[in-house]
Symmetry: C2
Subunit: 112 residues, 2 copies
């Protein structure tokens, strides 16, 4: 697929959570937890997809959601709350989370 | 700076453009153009900052803007329009652009 790595989202409007982070050098449990959170997020009501890249210490993960209540519910899932705490204690030097309403989108896919 | 790589944005609301892309193997002119576009974007009215990471073929670049007219004006800047065309012809297999209103944000920075 030419667009593997790009989330397949529905017609606008929908919502995005942009999570931009800077990692510490501490790896303990990070990869397992990050993978588990992607898996767990995908099981939540209102989840639409995710895109994620990391380059050196800086990472950007964008998750897409149907509405704001879905985002709020995911933030409060117990296992996710624990991961957020471990993130602050171990894995992240800094992060910023931005809750967005996607108002318009357009796409390009290369002709085969 | 613990948060180098995270854009310093003002109080919400403001706007974000999430540009998620999948690269071709063609490099011709890519790095220079990408760097020039970051430099040129930063000179536009309403520009607030940018975050960008690429991991393998997949890249996420989020630029932040004061309002929708600023985003529209940046899309239409001649040198940027040319870069968009070259992107479709040479550098990208696929991309998706999402125009978002940032409604809420919060940040964490590790105590020193």
């Amino acid at each position: 697929m030419a667009d593997a790595g790009i989330a397949q989202t529905p017609k606008t409007p929908y919502y995005a959570v942009i999570f931009t982070s800077v990692r510490t050098p501490v790896d303990e449990g990070y990869a397992e937890t990050a993978e588990r959170m992607l898996e767990l997020a995908a099981q939540q009501p209102g989840y639409l997809g995710v895109e994620s890249t990391r380059e050196g210490a800086v990472g950007i993960t964008v998750s897409y959601w149907q509405d704001l209540p879905s985002i709020k519910a995911w933030k409060a899932v117990a296992e996710h709350t624990l991961a957020q705490r471990l993130g602050r204690e171990r894995w992240y030097r800094a992060y910023k989370t931005r809750i967005c309403r996607v108002e318009d989108d357009y796409a390009f896919t290369r002709p085969a």
